[in-house]
């Protein structure tokens, strides 16, 4: 085997039996260079922004005239489902994580992210999720129950067709990608902590934001996976988790759905704010004013995020006490937002610099963040929250978060980097047009909501007088589209020039400093195999699921074995062993899910008393989700490779679990012993404990394994700082388990 270096500097191992051109293009596709993969995330997400944006404009056209017929009612429902799913799952999260990992990678010690193959795996899972979702358009009936897929509307009775299955698979794949990205961020930063005192260069605000957002995502995906598993099993096996006639409860979906979406929106906002912090520092050349406040703000937001989902339930008949507590938890998020706004403006004010396009987007972000503060106060006080809940007001708040937390920060980075406040007059013009457009777009939504316009309504009557505001809104949307297109085109144009300049000035590394493994087929193939397995499970085709599961095992197992025997060839120190653990974890998880799903079919038809006692059997969902968490746990445990970093994550998960359990069960107006709640909290608690156990086992195994030398010196200070976290994490885990036991297991045993 002979190695050679391509024109771009990648090391390619030549194999005589494969034609060179084919091999080169495959190597390009299967690249695991983390800067390349991060930019792929950004480019793909912008493509989805374009698609979702066009659909959004179609909806705007429909609502610009009362009783218009641009689309029929079904088309409108499909449109807002498509728009929401695309923008939240396929645009917002991938764009922000792509930009954040790109910046973290280039500013980390090694010039790249810690886990390149996991990064590529995340990307291909995301692409697979996007394609599966687009494929739903080709199905006879695309999903049309809204991007939150509210059960029982999305269940087998009211959406009896196959479009929703595509949505479930797509959401699951994107969630897997988000988990991988979150682990990537945490490990890369933990890696950096081992060798240096700072999370990253500058004030470290982006690092703290990225870690906080990643922590939120890791907690928020638990209810998402639980919900997807339950909805899928309702649709496939008729379990009836959300069907009251079968002993389920529709309110359960609201808990699970908001338990994901509310924290996710905070995570997106935090990550976007972190990116803006970096842009502000680049533009001004100054460290952030009040940086320690900003870092604390991000950490605080992470805690608030996971306890504030309940504000969405103010109109669901919960008690006044619960409403007040959830509202108080929710409104706390205005504190970190206010801190970062003032910090940005103070830094811009302090610097003797002139400002261009990137700064204009920062100004827009600050103004939109102010709107988010106002909207959050309105949606946190129960009395005002219920008086505009379900109205267009909420759509206004969501779009303020989307533009202030995602689009504008993303644009600021794209026109601002590399090399500061870049972008010619066109970029500035685009930024100003976008800024005017976004307020014309968003403000009418708040006003329409106050006037009583319901969201997700495909038409309205002339007599309502909603038309004027709708026309302004459409005008704003059109301006926004023009502004963003101009900005993006200008940013693309200046990027080629900017890159050389940035490399010359040291902002971008000339080459990643490690030797780089150019490509690996494992991530692509693993993502494809996972997609096949999921599609198989949800397409009523057991054989397809079986093939997918076997493929997953083959790909990852083979890769792991190969990695073991070629460790010396692998250029990332220690990167060989994760493959083995990933293989084991994914394999065990998928097989467990597979066996559980089909084992359940047999059990469900039996009259085994323990199953009947629970009202409905947790037999399917527990192992499926535990299998999924096993995957995550195994990846995480091995990926961290460091039990101290692990203990931080354990502490976060355990604390979040404890907080969720206590807040949830302590304030519910319902009897906790009621079947559905007992079982669902049982489920959640079980999953968290299982995840913690797997992580702990992985940590122990890892601690006992011989370590590959990575040539890096450890910083004894870091050891001293992180050490005390271990007893803290243990105590937190004990508290979480105890609270879970007393609140959800005891009632079941006693009751």
């Amino acid at each position: 085997m002979s190695a050679r270096v391509t024109s771009t500097g990648e090391v390619v191992t030549a194999r005589p039996s494969v034609p060179g051109a084919w091999r080169r293009s495959w190597a390009g596709v299967a690249s695991v260079r983390t800067d390349v993969v991060s930019m792929r995330f950004v480019a793909t997400s912008i493509a989805f922004l374009a698609v979702g944006g066009v659909v959004g404009l179609v909806m705007r056209a429909q609502l610009s005239w009362p009783t218009a017929h641009v689309v029929d009612p079904e088309g409108y429902a499909q449109a807002f489902t498509f728009h929401g799913t695309t923008m939240v799952l396929l645009f917002a999260a991938p764009l922000l994580f792509g930009l954040a990992t790109a910046l973290l990678g280039t500013s980390s010690v090694s010039g790249r992210l810690a886990l390149p193959r996991l990064h590529a795996f995340a990307y291909w899972c995301y692409v697979a999720g996007g394609l599966v979702f687009l494929a739903s358009l080709a199905s006879a009936t695309p999903p049309d129950a809204g991007w939150t897929e509210t059960a029982p509307l999305s269940g087998p009775v009211y959406s009896p067709r196959n479009g929703t299955e595509y949505w479930i698979v797509a959401a699951a794949l994107v969630a897997v990608a988000m988990v991988a990205l979150s682990i990537q961020v945490i490990v890369t930063i933990a890696d950096g902590l081992r060798v240096g005192p700072r999370l990253e260069r500058g004030s470290g605000a982006l690092g703290w934001a990225a870690v906080s957002a990643s922590g939120i995502v890791l907690v928020a995906v638990v209810p998402l996976f639980a919900g997807l598993g339950m909805l899928g099993s309702d649709r496939l096996f008729g379990t009836g988790f959300f069907d009251e006639t079968l002993g389920g409860d529709a309110l359960l979906w609201q808990h699970l759905s908001f338990g994901f979406s509310v924290p996710l929106f905070v995570a997106l906002f935090v990550l976007g704010a972190g990116l803006v912090c970096r842009v502000v520092e680049d533009v001004t050349g100054l460290p952030l004013v009040g940086a320690s406040w900003v870092r604390a703000a991000f950490a605080f937001a992470a805690v608030v995020a996971v306890v504030s989902w309940g504000r969405e339930l103010a109109s669901s008949g919960v008690s006044g006490l619960a409403q007040s507590l959830f509202g108080a938890a929710s409104v706390l998020v205005v504190i970190p937002i206010a801190i970062v706004i003032v910090s940005w403006l103070a830094t811009l004010w302090a610097a003797p610099a002139t400002y261009g396009a990137a700064s204009t987007f920062v100004a827009g972000t600050a103004l939109l963040a102010a709107l988010v503060v106002c909207g959050t106060v309105a949606t946190s006080i129960p009395a005002s929250a219920t008086s505009i809940g379900g109205s267009v007001f909420v759509v206004g708040l969501i779009h303020s978060i989307a533009f202030g937390g995602v689009v504008f920060p993303g644009m600021a980075v794209l026109v601002g980097r590399p090399g500061g406040d870049r972008g010619g007059p066109w970029a500035r013009a685009g930024a100003l047009v976008s800024l005017v457009g976004v307020f014309l777009f968003v403000a009418p939504m708040y006003l329409l909501g106050l006037r009583g316009a319901p969201r997700r309504a495909y038409t309205y009557d002339v007599a309502t007088g909603f038309q004027a505001l709708n026309v302004v809104e459409t005008l704003g949307a059109a301006l926004l589209a023009v502004g963003l297109i101009v900005t993006l085109a200008s940013a693309l144009g200046s990027r080629a020039v900017g890159r050389d300049e940035a490399v010359a000035s040291g902002i971008l590394p000339t080459r990643p400093r490690d030797r780089v493994m150019a490509s690996s087929g494992v991530p692509v193939l693993a993502a494809v195999a996972l997609t096949i397995a999921l599609l198989g499970m949800l397409s009523y085709e057991p054989w397809l699921a079986g093939i997918g599961a076997v493929l997953v095992l083959l790909v990852l197992g083979g890769a792991a074995a190969a990695a073991r025997s070629r460790t010396d060839e692998l250029v990332f120190p220690g990167d060989g062993r994760p493959a083995l653990w990933i293989a084991l974890g994914v394999g065990v998880g998928v097989v467990a899910a597979f066996v559980a799903a089909y084992g359940y079919l047999a059990l469900a038809t039996s009259t085994w008393p323990p199953l009947l006692k629970f009202g409905y059997p947790p037999g399917l969902v527990l192992p499926t989700i535990a299998g999924g968490l096993l995957v995550l746990g195994a990846i995480a445990a091995r990926a961290f490779g460091d039990w101290r970093a692990l203990s931080i994550v354990l502490a976060v998960v355990a604390l979040a679990a404890g907080a969720v359990e206590v807040v949830w069960l302590g304030t519910l107006p319902f009897e906790p012993a009621e079947d559905v709640y007992a079982s669902s909290t049982f489920l959640l608690g079980w999953c968290l404990v299982a995840a913690a156990a797997v992580l702990a086992v992985g940590a122990i195994v890892d601690a006992l394994s011989p370590r590959p030398t990575d040539g890096r010196e450890r910083d004894p200070d870091v050891e001293a700082r992180v050490g005390p976290l271990v007893p803290f994490a243990t105590a937190a885990a004990v508290v979480a388990v105890l609270s879970w036991f007393t609140t959800s297991i005891l009632p079941v045993i006693i009751g």
Partner: protein, 329 residues
Amino acid sequence: VTRRLVAVLGLAVTGSACRSDAAVLQPMGDAAHRAQGAWLTVAIASVVVFVLVAAGVLIAFVVRRGTIEDETRRRRTGERAVLAGGFVLSAAIAIAATVVGAATTTANVSPDAATVLVRVEAHRWWWQVDYLDTGISSANEIVMPTGVPVDIQITSDNVVHSMWFPQLAGRADVIPGRVTNLTLIADQPGVYEGRCAEFCGLQHAHMGIEAIAMSPSAYDTWVAQERSAVEENGQGVVPAGLGVFLASGCDRCHTISGTVADGVIGPDLTHVGSRRTIGAGSLPNTDADMARWIADPWSVKPGAEMPGFAEQLTPYQLGALVDYLEGLR
């Protein structure tokens, strides 16, 4: 900067122009009055926050920055701004919102003894209304006396809905298998628009309901009228329209008290002639619109469960049916 100023000004103008139409901010009922305390807090916080941030943006971008020597001094001022504007002010807003939130919550207001009891069942996509204390049945309208608490128990046997009267109270989610309570008290006689506020399928947009408040004495008259009309239905000659109604199978879905029609799938039509709208707010209740609705409901509400009768009925039969239905008052 000028453009931004114009945008902000435009926003303010639009806002004040629309204020007069903002149903949520024109409370006509007890719960909505309570919510005004919350909205006042929101308004104050919004004005303060938005004005401060807009001013901050202007200062940061427009005010001429000094020399490098100024930087340290500016940083120190900035740190103070982060503490005061970022932390202290926002924490004050959070505390105020929490206190106001606890004070204005309406969840624990229990209906007193002298209430009108109404049971509402949310269907796809209309509202079945049963007055538990008087035995009257109707659809898509809640007739209520002013000044008296009307205790509404809402249920659903299908998907999640939400009942929302912007001028009277916050929305109340309707969750299958659960009973949600909503107490309405209207200040003055009038018709208050309401609608479904949770996406419930294709015709979520056409799931309206109205609260019709009248003085207690007018309400008593209304109750007496509704009851006597039921008795009249069962007497005398069978009208031609009722014949068409029964012959066309309308009775499989609809009830008309006092006749043999006792279907329960669609709305009760006992007093359909007195209702203000057809199809849960889809059309005004006129003869022409009633004919259009019966002939082809999907022309206004595609996806509704009601089939069209355009091919089944002759114009004469349709006319007789409309005359009959519009006479049911």
